[in-house]
């Protein structure tokens, strides 16, 4: 019965996706798609010959380099999805590993497809529906953004890259946002409702808040600065994570009735470490690509500050955990690196190297440490620290643009971060709330104890190894 329900839901979801595809085909059938395939076919044969480079803002060589860098940056952001999958599965229990890997494999795919269907047109709108606030549209090409044979693939579209490169880079970004939420709800969320949430969060919410700044909306008009997405990606993701973790409630056994915290250790520190290094690696593309050209000075400066902030964050968090916890905590050092990276993301183009290490990196790392403990005090269970790393440090990073730059922009920065946080939080809360009311969002107690791998997938992540069932710390208050 339940299974059949799931099947129907699933088919419904597919239907929505299909309608989206169909819709986009219907609407633009004659022009957009035809153009797209036409353009594509001509790319090879005639494109470079036909476009008059002498009239372009940049030389063909420069355009090609710029485009190459953004393509590479897109690949780097892509590999961040593997990073997220590893951090999240490493920091949770072995019994939930298949579930987490499945979620983190689906998210980028759903994210990219949703971005192709409507996200791209909503975020970089050719026409606003509500000016500066909301836009809608279907498909990759089309509309004001892409309307000629060659414009999308040459410097006429943009001195930095082709429309396809642009789409790829932005689609990879979009998908990271839902991944952040995934970490905070791990170990207890039902799979299907979470995937539905992902479709809506990446397909609707992210492009809306994104359009406010990067699509030239109202925040952009106010002078709000967010270089690579401390707010638009991380704070938004963190807000969704907070909503999700609050509505779901903590994992069984995480908090004692007396307020005590019973940590549930992650099952593989090597996986978590692989994840964090891959995220750092990908962040070179995340921040460096957000320069939107291969501009030597600009990109290299951004890469240096990004690296230094990561170091500052990781070192700070490690040292603080050593001093306050008595022993150096690897999981905290890893979180600290991510915190530093999130912190620098709003403005890696301006701080000097000491500000990057100390003022942004180390402070973000410290914030992350105490924030993790703080949310545990509130009994908001966030298995991977997503709320602290992305939410708290995302906001701090957004403010840093003012703190280490033009302090007069502090108000705008705060407003921007708050507006995006609030919107994402409310959106996520409504979606999770509705899902909870209709199909339920939390697995049964038995399934949670046995692990979601068996419950949701009938599959074991490590069938050849003997799991340890004897552990004092599984007890807590079951």
């Amino acid at each position: 019965m339940k299974r059949r329900m799931n099947g129907i839901m699933l088919l419904g979801m597919l239907g929505v996706l299909g309608l989206g595809l169909l819709g986009s085909e219907t609407v633009h059938a004659q022009d957009v798609v035809a153009q797209a395939s036409q353009a594509a076919q001509t790319v090879e044969a005639a494109a470079p010959a036909a476009f008059d480079w002498s009239k372009a803002e940049v030389s063909e060589e420069m355009f090609t380099v710029n485009n190459l860098w953004i393509m590479i940056a897109a690949m780097l952001v892509f590999i961040m999805h593997l990073g997220f999958a590893m951090v999240e599965s490493g920091l949770t229990q072995a019994k939930n590993t298949v579930n987490i890997l499945f979620k983190n494999t689906m998210i980028p795919m759903i994210g990219i497809v949703m971005f192709a269907i409507c996200g791209w047109q909503m975020m970089y709108p050719s026409e606003w529906i509500a000016d500066g606030v909301f836009a809608f549209g279907f498909g990759i090409g089309g509309g004001g953004i892409y309307s000629g044979d060659y414009e999308g693939v040459t410097a006429a579209y943009n001195v930095g890259y082709t429309v396809w490169t642009d789409f790829l880079f932005q689609a990879m970004f979009a998908a990271t946002c839902a991944t952040i939420v995934s970490g905070a709800v791990a170990g207890r969320v039902k799979l299907l409702p979470f995937l539905i949430f992902t479709v809506l969060f990446v397909g609707i919410l992210y492009p809306i808040t994104g359009s406010w700044k990067w699509g030239g909306g109202w925040l952009d008009a106010m002078g709000f600065a967010d270089f690579a997405g401390s707010t638009l990606v991380h704070t938004v993701g963190g807000a969704g994570a907070l909503a999700g973790a609050m509505i779901l409630g903590p994992r069984i056994g995480k908090y004692g009735r007396d307020g005590s915290v019973h940590p549930i250790p992650g099952h593989s520190m090597p996986l978590a470490t692989i994840g964090v290094f891959l995220l750092w690696f990908g962040w070179f593309g995340f921040n460096g690509g957000s320069e939107l050209s291969a501009n030597a000075g600009g990109v290299s400066y951004v890469l240096v500050t990004t690296t230094l902030a990561a170091c500052g964050g990781g070192l700070a968090c490690a040292v603080i955990s050593w001093i306050f916890g008595g022993k150096p905590d690897l999981s905290m050092a890893l979180n600290g690196i991510l915190a530093g990276l999130v912190g620098i993301t709003a403005g890696p183009d301006t701080p000097n190297w000491i500000e990057a290490i100390v003022g942004i990196g180390a402070v973000s790392g410290a914030l992350c440490y105490f924030s993790v403990i703080f949310f545990d005090k509130l009994k908001i269970d966030d298995p991977v620290g997503a709320i602290s790393v992305h939410g708290v440090c995302g906001i701090y990073g957004t403010l840093c643009v003012a703190l280490f730059g033009d302090i007069s922009t502090f108000g705008v920065q705060l407003l921007g971060a708050a507006a995006c946080f609030a919107t994402a939080f409310i959106f996520a809360a409504i979606v999770f709330g509705l899902l909870k009311a209709t199909m339920g969002i939390r697995v049964s107690e038995e399934e949670e104890l046995e692990g979601l791998d068996l419950g949701e997938h009938d599959m074991a992540a490590y069938p050849d190894f003997q799991r340890t069932y004897i552990k004092s710390y599984e007890a807590g208050e079951i």
């Binding site: 104890l449 068996l454 997938h457 009938d458 599959m459 074991a460 069938p463 003997q466 799991r467 340890t468 069932y469 004897i470 004092s472 599984e474 007890a475 079951i478």
Partner: protein
């Protein structure tokens, strides 16, 4: 002296230990094991086909007790492990001929 061997669900181990401690029984040894019983295992799936996994993960607790504590101990275990569902487990008891505490060389009841 008797050895109690109880095959129980993994997550009642802590509860049993706590209960026994109340009775003044502190030592116990736990082994991970797999049970085949009335409780059926589960089905796993892999690449389009089904796998019947017949066993259920259990913990085998070994608790050596003085004979006078035996019944109390059994009762304590039963109480803690009982949930009235298939798979709650079983308790086996046998007599011990000798017990030695390695550190001190004490034997039998003194060693418990």
């Amino acid at each position: 002296m008797h050895m109690i061997e109880a095959v129980v669900k993994p997550f009642v181990v802590d509860k049993i230990k706590a209960k026994l401690a109340e009775l003044g029984i502190f030592g116990c040894t736990a082994l991970e094991c797999k049970g085949f019983g009335k409780q059926k295992g589960h089905t796993e799936r892999y690449r389009g086909a089904r796998i019947d996994v017949g066993f259920v993960p259990k913990v085998l607790l070994k608790i050596a007790v003085k004979s006078e504590d035996l019944d109390k101990a059994i009762e304590a275990i039963r109480e803690s492990a009982h949930s009235n569902s298939v798979g709650d487990g079983k308790i086996f008891v046998y007599e011990l001929g000798k017990v030695v505490r390695i550190r001190t060389g004490e034997t039998d009841n003194d060693a418990l």
